[in-house]
Symmetry: D2
Subunit: 479 residues, 4 copies
């Protein structure tokens, strides 16, 4: 499914480095490889001898950093950066991270990937106690908790604060003395550590960022860990021992870049396996396998390889689509004017097509693509989805918070097939997904979070509990 049309968004990517003379520039390139995790805004904070410098803005990284001068102002040997995902409406530069705080006793920068489940109640308690918030973001909460902690050392104050917030979080912090990374007790979001040739330590949401900056992978940040990096090296501690892996399965299915490894598993390979197992679970006779670009190409090639059916480029995505301000009118759309995705008539005409996609959210995109293929002359279109049906919201950092948005929450497979106009439709099984990824943590589902598929949330929902109960009763609205 193409990135532009899917209503699945994740909350951000982070990157940090300690010990490199060109820290902000390396951070730029690291963030650049994480741009797929967030396009709403970006920022970098650097540390030059204890004084922190910040630039942040709305839009793509390349829109925020338009010239060398901006980057050159971010001097120093350490930096952290953040890319923020695109939500509709209330985008404001106030919410763009990393947040930079200036205190009489030193500067402090903070970046966050994830979603807290007790943010609302914590915020209210803090405000009643005189706290002032400057953004709508959950992220500031941690800062208030740290500043108000009565513990003696900064590290102890951080640990106390990390035990107070609940949900999914990967934090990256920068102070005069050190860079600190911390991951929630379930490890919902990926966070990895690498090292550059010159010894500089690098922390990134995905390993692709390590590769892009030429850093060697050292270790993943594990659930409940707080890792401090400074001139003396890297120190691993725990803020809690009550941990249990529940890695977001959607990272493997859709979000992460295919060249990243999560918990040691390559994302492209996992997707290819999803395609292979899907082919075993839901084989059908056809003339070709077509993947929906770009995220489903790995799964499609796995399906093709396993089934022996040729893999063809039956759909082409316009690579210049990103920044178009002109849209077809409804009338033109009815006349068949398309912009983003084209079916290749010369390839699919008269053929039986297996169309492989990574997931179905609302179903509207699938219906549109099936339609495109049929208009281009495909005789049959068999849709194969390389993940189980999405049926439940996520509260740990993916932007699906109601069941209304999920076609599979209220419709049978057969109903969905009819709605999207496919000749057949199959989804990968939950076991198929778990086997394709192949983790082996001693935890439910081998260490994956499968809540979107089966409602089995690995933590209490806190402030979202009422909302969750309400959305269980909602009907999907299909359009």
């Amino acid at each position: 499914m193409s990135n532009e049309v899917k209503s699945l968004n994740e909350e951000c990517g982070v990157f940090g480095i300690w010990g490199h003379p060109d820290a902000a520039r390396v951070t730029y390139f690291g963030l650049h490889s994480l741009q797929h995790r967030g396009q709403e805004g970006a920022g970098i904070v650097s540390n030059d001898g204890g004084k922190l410098f910040s630039t942040r803005g709305l839009g793509l990284l390349s829109e925020v950093f338009k010239n060398e001068r901006q980057l050159n102002q971010l001097t120093g040997q350490a930096a952290i950066g953040h890319v923020r995902y695109a939500t509709a409406g209330t985008s404001s530069v106030d919410n763009i991270q990393p947040f930079l705080f200036n205190f009489y006793d030193g500067d402090f920068a903070l970046a966050h990937n994830g979603n807290l489940t007790n943010a609302k109640s914590l915020r209210r308690e803090l405000e009643i106690d005189g706290a002032i918030f400057h953004s709508n973001s959950d992220t500031e909460i941690l800062m208030h908790l740290i500043r108000r902690s009565q513990k003696e050392t900064l590290c102890d104050r951080m640990k106390e604060a990390l035990n107070t917030v609940k949900g999914g979080f990967a934090y990256l912090m920068l102070t005069e003395e050190s860079m600190v990374a911390a991951l929630d007790p379930n490890g919902f979001r990926p966070l990895s550590i690498g090292q550059m040739v010159n010894g500089a330590y690098v922390v990134a949401s995905e390993t692709c960022a390590l590769e892009v900056v030429g850093a060697k992978f050292i270790q993943d940040v594990n659930p409940g860990e707080i890792i401090t990096i400074n001139d003396e090296g890297l120190k691993v501690e725990h803020f809690t021992e009550e941990t249990q892996h529940a890695i977001c399965s959607m990272e493997y299915i859709y979000f992460a870049r295919p060249d990243s490894n999560i918990a040691g598993v390559n994302v492209h390979s996992a997707r290819k396996n999803m395609g292979r197992i899907l082919s075993q679970e839901a084989s059908i006779e056809a003339d070709m396998v077509v993947g929906v670009p770009n995220s489903s190409l790995s799964a499609a090639s796995g399906y093709a390889e396993e089934s022996g059916i040729p893999y063809e480029m039956g759909l082409v995505k316009n690579q210049y689509v990103a920044r178009t301000f002109i849209q077809p009118t409804q009338e033109l759309r009815e006349q068949g004017v398309r912009m983003k995705l084209s079916a290749v008539r010369g390839v699919v005409e008269g053929k039986r097509v297996i169309m492989v996609d990574d997931s179905i959210v609302r179903g509207t995109t699938s219906r549109r693509i099936v339609n495109l293929l049929k208009e281009a002359g495909a005789k049959e279109v068999h849709v194969r989805i390389a993940s189980p049906p999405l049926r439940y919201p996520c509260f740990y950092g993916i932007d699906i918070q109601t069941r209304k948005e999920l076609i599979a929450a209220n419709h049978s497979i057969e109903e969905i097939r009819e709605m999207i106009g496919a000749d057949s439709l199959s989804f990968l099984s939950e076991d198929g997904l778990i086997n394709a990824i192949g983790l082996d943590f001693d935890a439910p589902y081998s260490g994956l979070c499968m809540a979107y598929f089966n409602g089995d949330y690995p933590t209490p929902l806190y402030d979202y509990e009422a909302h969750y109960q309400a959305t269980l009763k909602e009907k999907t609205s299909f359009y």
Copy 2:
């Protein structure tokens, strides 16, 4: 080979429509699907009851047309548009097409894809005779020839002018009364005609643009044809009978979108065939086939399918790379910082890789990619090029005009292999290319232009003859 690094550029794409109430908007979407043919500038001229309106500018189509208002000013039922390819240095809005000329006896717009071989001498003759040119482009020449012709009708004046210019050209013209398309006697550049549901005629450089605007393919414009479209329909005439097909083979290999058909042959399918035949001609034992994104993916999948070796995503292109103003310093590059293309360690580490690319120009890109794969742990890298070695310049519209830029002009295959650091290297044969495309025109090479490979130019070189003789003596400079 990724678009950004290749020094192959083509001269432009054109799109026109006659008979649609929303002509400029349809032209926008048509051009949008031709954006890969030129990113330096774009323009649209519309015809509203004989008065022509124009907007043009530097940059991508989406940078030229930033809002609805701009498009809405281009009223009328007919329009032509143009995207211009990116050259270094002297880019000026003066050269952006379509050119719009206002005469006391009516407006005239003109767009051009190709390159004239007698432009320099024609221009000089015209200037001596008092003509004033306003651009560096060849395109204006035709306008001067038409205005100075003594023939009675506009059509006869056009025909006379079209017989005076030599080389590769696909012209699109718009006047009060009609839209006119014309193609050189060898048909170097593709040009196709379609029809929309409402009857509007559409002309486009590639059939992908017809698909994108929902138009049905009607016919290709054939060599030597001048086609007039107006409210009475479409009229096909010839300005010359001395024609012979010599379709640019690089359109199939690299330029055209995979979803386009040229002379009835689908580009993706042709590329897949190139990969298949390459596999037959140059097989080797390996663990995986990796295509260089995006243009070599079809050939790579053909190679994989034919060889039975798995097709893997061993290289990932950053989809946000297009508009970055920040570059790694030399020092960072040496530390391994990369931006555009990443090798996927999790896929290629310890493996024997067949890397399929569409072509080699200077060789620097190939060397870089081989190096990327080796740094990511590939045990062996076997480079397979899905076209014959490029050895001669092109004078019909591709931006290679000296042999210096072509590594294969002066080096043996074995020398090139060593220079790019590959474990083995093979190119597709000329016959293999001709068979993969599979045209069957009654012309040399079945109707393809193969001059870049063998120096067999289908026309005299006119103003370029001396330059050509000089470049034959040049040595390739490899860096």
Copy 3:
């Protein structure tokens, strides 16, 4: 009268320099001091060893030249520049000057201030003969005439062309070998020559530009002169001997900067004299004299000085008004919301005010300002205009081409007084104006063009004759 609200616009300013290592930069500062002569667009062409380089664009000079890099590309020891006046609607970068033409036998740049009266017929003749125009501007015509001339030397070709065009023109041309300035036989527009400390020659529309670049005034370009400047110095020739001074009187009244001298007369001093004579011609008892900022402050201070009535700042112009995109709604305007000009209640309340303005075009601005003063509590407002009533269009470079736009064309002084709500109204007499400026050329009106006041045009009107006869019958529309 404030610049923003007046519907009087002039056609441009020019600046050129020969013999300075930083020619383009000096041209930038020269043009900057001429910005009041045109805000629609600006451009500079430099000459580096015969090769000309050009940058031009829409908007203010500071919008066209946004960074040092742009200026640094304009290398060379000579340059000419142009600022273009703002017209509504068809603004296009194609019309921004200097025009740069590339010929096989050398580059040629051309800038123009003025208006030709036989442009339309010349253009049609040229087009019938095969010429192609690329702009709507008159300026290109001279280039076509020069290129088509059969004379032997470039200078002779220029002279022939300059004798073919009619009307008001100040041309500045730049070629490999020289910079050439030429002025029409009546010298409607000012054009002066100066010299910098290093010997570089400078040509400019107004002497204020000479001062700003530190150049010493050498001489005015006289009617019918063609002046060639090159490395050997400055050579003055005539393209015609049939000359007669008719300097545009509006330059003194309104257009030119107060620090410029035209034909040796300082503009501020001329305006102060206009105020003085106006005071003698139309004295009245009052408490204060108030000038309409900025253009009427000189005249107002002359009036005050002569009359002995105190000069006060009763009107204040917001200096930040230039680039505001937000306007008061009609409702807010009715509630008294103002932006550009404020009357100073603390100064005028309860007082009898003499309001001095430079001229009245439509009358709407005068009415508005009288109203402002009365709302701020002025007891009486006596309007004194420091020029005679505008009654006839201009065809030599000022943008009033119909009598409809001129309130005085069809209304008596008493009618105008009533329409603008003044307690009394007087204009400066024609003789008063001539005496205030104090030229003494042997020509009608001592060498001034007074046509706007009395219809006495110093030349035939050619292509405008019919238009002129028609406009004589039009009624003023007052709103």
Copy 4:
């Protein structure tokens, strides 16, 4: 002295309105007339039924509000706005006001003009107590104090907070229920209240803003007052009774717009009086009086009127200078290239000139202007400054905080005269200034703050005391 070159800057302007359907738009026009008080940034917060909406950004108001859409998003019947003054370097959108705070119990917006003298110690105390600040601005402090106050009503919490902060402040606050204005106990900064035709109340830093939006002046906000405006009208209270007028005299001399009244005294008239008294105190024989545009024109005309010497436009300021990115090189400056200010040779050549300026800070500007006049041929230049010598820093909102920047702090009048190259130099006396303004409050200096001239600060200096003692020992650096 021209605005661009003077190193005197004031901290901001504020504007607010309650009870108008187009509140944000009226605020835009009000702020537009206060733009001279700050060009670094601007913002508006509107109140629509208790929900506050905000837009703010760097640059001029017209750069922050670029289109109607932005303004239309600020719905509601009340709004407050702010323009911020330009400082070098650390400008960040985080510091642009009004600040908008979202609390669980309602939104709160805050704008501030002035400078606190105990900001540093208050901030440190608050941070130690867990407070987090998001800007470098003093303004946030009041918000923290209000939120932490234990008083019962919001109004009492505000009063407590207003009694905690010290120095110069004019606050404007907006909540769901009301708009609140408060002024420090000395009334350093002006703040006035007016009423529009429809009954809406308006608060503004200067009365010119009342005039511009068509509001009638009601009253000044007096020292120590807190004024609450809501749907029930206007309520005046005091947060302290210990007040004593010390209105900033620089407002009259330089900052305020000439059409504003401060404490009932028109600024233009005060300046004209300064010129008149200066003429009495320091008369000299000369040919003309020339004012430095724009701020010294009133004083110069007063001087001319009183002395009977003609007032001439001997200096012209380029009105397009504001946004120029291109600057003369040092070499060009030495060759006499100027941009901003020109001396009018045609006026001053061979004449004895009295040059009237409002003040001297460093002296570099005065030296430059004297030099300009002499280069343009002035025979003598007698400098008359319409205020006493600046010798002491300001801690209440003007950006002079060290004596190093003040030439008069360490040099005698005769030394300064020699340094600026004038033939004679005189300053207005302190008594002359007090008499020219003519306040009659029962307070030292009739109610003016004269500290910049005599070091007599009307309040303790708190956090600045040490800094002040140190700067007393500094030497002026003149360059």
